[in-house]
């Protein structure tokens, strides 16, 4: 935020049009900012990596206003406009920074010809694999070949043969023939993942991407190299040959692996998820995400998925299950074990249920080792949501010892457990047998087996909602695939429980109606917040009320606890 105020804008001229761009920005970004769908084609340049300048695709013509060498005065054309001295040869856009008065041509004949030349050279040794190549449909080479290729080959010699189907690591397969040597993956491993495993061997057209001897591409960010590969050289071993990308629907979602809340895209077709890729958000995850976070969609099709509302193990309807939950809660002595995996909307309802029933709320923290990048120590996506909605006021413990004592003393008669297996949190099966258990969750476990009432819920891929990440950023996710048949969204089920507790009639809710109710009640939310109108890259919330809490996250890619505290404690400048 501060940097933006320092950076000054300068005016450059792109294809005869004056454009205001920040000083120091490179030509590729400047042209993108000029809008109108204008693009300088490029392969090796990536906004989050260092500049290599080796693909030579982003050639543009550049010129500067001419000045008299002796006097230093600007030389003018006859009509009074500054005379532009064009460089005799094109220059690469990625390594050319905008400077005041610079003139750029992105569509002149010379530029087009140089792009055509580069494309022809790149295609010399590129195999004609498109029908079996997974990148087809999202391949930059394919796209630019259509625009800048000649449609036939003048190359009559034999193409180079390079290793195909090479295993680079547990999750990445390499096809060296397709590689155009852009070195994005090499730079990513070195600069972002801090694990320098990839490099080129041999020279000229024989250059081959490979791992250093004795090493493999095994770090938890290896699949990002697949994402940034502009061609089909690096492929995901898991997604390989599964589905063509043009059939897949993209849905914006949020990764639930940790409190980072990486922005993701879910790729699905006909209710089946095929892959998850990161979505760019410069405030949260840049353009990266962990490999482990990409696997999280797999359990939603597992056998032990809860698919029916049940009372004492017998299938029933949603309404009857909710009515039976209301009865159990009204009997009193309820303990609510909430979840930091629930969305903000659900936590808002759990808070209502707790308030109306006088239930004691506990939450369980899930922690793991952080990697300082995009995997934080807090392995739940929405702990901040529980704080903001008021479900909890202090940070949760890792186990439920106190609740176990209360069960043994008979102070608790009903446990309302959300997505947590209580038997793994210090409450024995014998203890659970003494109380009524209401279980809300996606998958069967030891707790759901002994539960009196089971309310199956939807996974993050099947519902609409929001999470609040480590830096109190409210982020929205959308349903990518339908849930198991007959399962209603959690907030409508919870409304059927919460409303009767205060002698109201349950309303039929949509996510927008939930927000109409919720936004005015939560002080950190602006009254005008609506789920539908939240920006795609999230909203930073006011975190000043929670700065005293000792969160477990340590410094990672976009979050530094000390700096965060400092920034939010400071009075807001006018």
């Amino acid at each position: 935020m501060k940097i933006e105020s320092i950076v000054e804008n300068i005016t450059i001229n792109i294809d005869g049009q004056d454009v205001d761009v920040p000083k120091g920005i490179n030509i590729i970004e400047a042209v993108k900012m000029a809008g109108k769908g204008k693009e300088v084609p490029h392969y090796c340049y990536h906004p989050k990596l260092s500049i290599a300048g080796n693909c030579r695709m982003c050639m543009v013509e550049m010129g500067m206003p001419m000045r008299d060498r002796t006097t230093g005065e600007a030389i003018l054309e006859e009509d009074g406009s500054p005379k532009i001295g064009w460089m005799p040869k094109p220059t690469i856009g990625c390594a050319t920074n905008a400077s005041p008065g610079m003139h750029i041509r992105t569509h002149s004949d010379m530029v087009k010809e140089s792009r055509n030349g580069v494309t022809e050279f790149l295609l010399i040794n590129h195999p004609l694999d498109c029908p079996i190549c997974d990148q087809a449909g999202e391949c930059r080479l394919q796209e630019f070949s259509a625009e800048h290729g000649r449609g036939y080959s003048r190359f009559i010699e034999d193409k180079n043969v390079k290793p195909k189907r090479t295993r680079l690591g547990p999750r990445v397969t390499l096809d060296d023939e397709r590689c155009i040597l852009c070195s994005r993956c090499v730079r990513f491993s070195k600069e972002i993942a801090n694990d320098d495993v990839l490099g080129f061997v041999d020279r000229g057209t024989y250059s081959t991407l490979t791992c250093y001897p004795g090493k493999e591409l095994a770090h938890n960010y290896s699949l990002n190299t697949v994402d940034i590969c502009p061609v089909g050289a690096l492929t995901s071993t898991d997604f390989r040959f599964k589905m063509r990308v043009w059939f897949l629907k993209r849905t914006h979602s949020i990764c639930t692996e940790s409190s980072i809340g990486a922005n993701t895209e879910i790729w699905s077709r006909e209710g089946k998820i095929y892959r998850i890729t990161p979505r760019r958000n410069d405030e949260v995850n840049d353009t990266w995400m962990t490999d482990s976070g990409r696997d999280l969609f797999k359990p939603i099709e597992s056998e032990d998925r809860l698919t029916h509302y049940t009372i004492e193990g017998v299938h029933t309807t949603c309404d009857e299950a909710a009515a039976s939950v209301v009865k159990l809660i009204q009997a009193g002595d309820v303990a609510l074990v909430g979840s930091a995996h629930s969305s903000v909307e659900e936590q808002f309802f759990y808070k209502q249920i707790a308030d109306r029933s006088g239930a004691k709320v506990s939450l369980v923290s899930h922690q793991g080792e952080g990697d300082g990048l995009l995997l934080s120590e807090d392995r739940s996506p929405n702990l901040r949501g529980a704080l903001v909605t008021g479900l909890i006021t202090d940070l949760p413990e890792a186990s439920l010892e106190t609740l176990a004592c209360e069960i043994n003393s008979g102070a608790v008669k009903t446990i309302f457990a959300v997505n947590e297996d209580l038997t793994e949190l210090g409450i024995s099966k014998e203890a659970l047998a003494k109380v009524n258990v209401i279980y809300v969750g996606t998958h069967a476990n030891a707790t759901s087996e002994v539960a009196s009432v089971v309310l199956p819920s939807l996974s993050v891929f099947e519902k609409d909602g929001t999470f609040i990440n480590q830096s109190f950023r409210l982020q929205r996710f959308k349903a990518a695939v339908p849930g198991p048949r007959g399962i209603e969204p959690d907030y409508t089920v919870l409304e059927k429980i919460a409303a009767p507790l205060s002698q109201e009639k349950p309303a039929s809710l949509t996510i927008d109606l939930v927000w109409e109710r919720m936004a005015p009640k939560i002080s950190q939310f602006d009254d005008s917040f609506r789920w539908r109108s939240l920006p795609d890259d999230g909203v930073a919330l006011n975190a000043s009320a929670f700065l005293d809490l000792d969160f477990v996250e340590t410094k990672n890619l976009k979050y530094d606890p000390a700096a965060f505290k400092e920034a939010h404690a400071a009075p807001v400048e006018a």
Binding site: P131, A136, V161, M243, R244, F247
Partner: protein
Amino acid sequence: MAKTKVLERKPLSFAEKTFLPQIVSGLKTTFGTMLSKGVTLQYPEERPVIPDNYRGVPTLVRDPNGREKCVSCQLCEFVCPPKAIRIIPGEIDADAEPDRAHVEKAPKEFDINMLRCIYCGLCQEVCPEEAIFLQDIFSLSGYSREEMINDKEKLYELGGTLPDKHFKWDKKKAAEQAGNAHH
């Protein structure tokens, strides 16, 4: 409302009133055709000659060496206007078929729903491997909806083998073995 206009009918002449000229001319046609060569076919025993570019039932074909040509690129599935084609792509098992491992990809399942197919031929036109052809089968029937969905096995049975001019993958394999490799 439009008014109906009644047209006066021309009164019949004497010859027309007897109907004899009409009967004679009709019988002339009848006896004339009786003696000329027949134009109908005794279907299904006799079958018509199908022209080369006829668009019949879409089928999958093998190359002259009996190998599968389809690489499950799914372009036909994409282009199919009535969404009749459904493919589940798969990987060729390198251990089971070492001589075809370099092709990498082949359909695991390939279904064409003939209740949906409109015989437009776009699948044949789009196929980069020349693996799908609308051949000369024009009469397709079945007792159930399931029967009308041609699976991979049925499609290859219907398709048979067609001459291949390119042998693209054989060339690829030869290049790999002879190679222009550095080492």
